[in-house]
């Protein structure tokens, strides 16, 4: 269960600017593949549940008729965007600290945005883990 482990470790780490989310992105990519040992295939889940499919469509996924976006793609995009906003905040911070820019508020706003984006990702992760545990508890 590398996905959950890395997500959990990410959650426990303090949200500083130095988080490298690339690991998480990789594990998210592996999420849909479903490892043999207790893995969960969310692609199938998505196909089987109309609610999730609808939710994904509402979440802004551009689903053309031919190519269906898998859940992991969307999650990966989310993590990538959060990573991007943290990196942008880092760049702004470095600009202010090196004296290249005097726009202190831009750096602070970028950092706050990154913080909120990170919180949102953590919430998504919490929901994901919650639903995973719900499924694992399911009686077959």
């Amino acid at each position: 269960m590398s996905v959950i482990a890395s997500l959990t470790s990410l959650f426990n780490r303090p949200p500083t600017g130095e988080i490298d989310l690339s690991n998480l992105q990789q594990s998210v990519a592996g999420l849909s593949k479903g490892s043999a040992a207790g893995g969960i295939d969310l692609t199938n889940l998505q196909e089987s549940s109309p609610v999730i499919t609808e939710a994904l469509a509402n979440a802004g996924a551009t689903q053309s008729a031919g190519s269906r976006k898998s859940f992991s793609d969307i999650l990966e995009k989310l993590v990538g965007e959060v990573d991007g906003s943290i990196k942008a905040a880092d760049a702004e911070k470095a600009k202010v600290l090196s004296g290249e820019s005097t726009n202190l508020h831009q750096a602070m706003i970028a950092m706050q945005e990154a913080g909120v984006a990170f919180s949102m990702m953590v919430e998504v992760r919490n929901k994901l883990v919650e639903s995973y545990q719900e499924i694992m508890r399911m009686q077959v």
Binding site: E81, V82, G84, S85, T102, N103, H105, Q106, I109, Q112, E113, V116, A117, S119, M120, E123
Partner: protein
């Protein structure tokens, strides 16, 4: 990703207010400058703002604000009798800058309050985003 809505607009307003304060700083600093680059006494600078339109600048938030121009206040400054001054004319009169410290202090307070108002918007927008994330808790 835009998690805090409207924050770029407020950011542009903060930049604009900061520029206004920079100009006030420049005016106060040059309140006694009798010789500028053109050899004339310093003229008070006035900032004007304009609304950012769609596509007015790359990456600029539409509906935000930016500094339209920084222009000189053309009103003449007072003439002061000071024959010992290096910039005094043949009659001993010195043309002083048209900077009025009272005006500058009012501008200073106005820009500070404007900045604070925009910071309050940032703070509340962030709180709203945080509150929205607690939906379902």
């Amino acid at each position: 990703m835009n998690v805090i809505s409207g924050i770029q607009i407020t950011g542009s307003a903060l930049t604009a207010e900061k520029t206004r304060m920079d100009i006030v700083a420049q005016n106060i600093a040059n309140a006694q400058t009798t010789k500028g680059a053109d050899g004339k006494p310093y003229h008070r600078k006035v900032v004007s703002f304009e609304t950012l339109m769609n596509g007015s600048a790359p990456g600029a938030p539409a509906g935000g604000v930016q500094v339209a121009s920084v222009t000189d206040d053309p009103t003449p400054g007072p003439m002061v009798y000071n024959p010992g001054h290096p910039d005094a004319d043949s009659k001993g009169m010195v043309a002083m800058p048209n900077v009025n410290l009272a005006y500058e202090m009012v501008d200073l307070i106005s820009s500070t309050r404007g900045y604070e108002a925009n910071l309050a918007v940032v703070r509340n927008a962030k709180q709203m985003a945080h509150k929205a994330l607690t939906i379902g808790h």
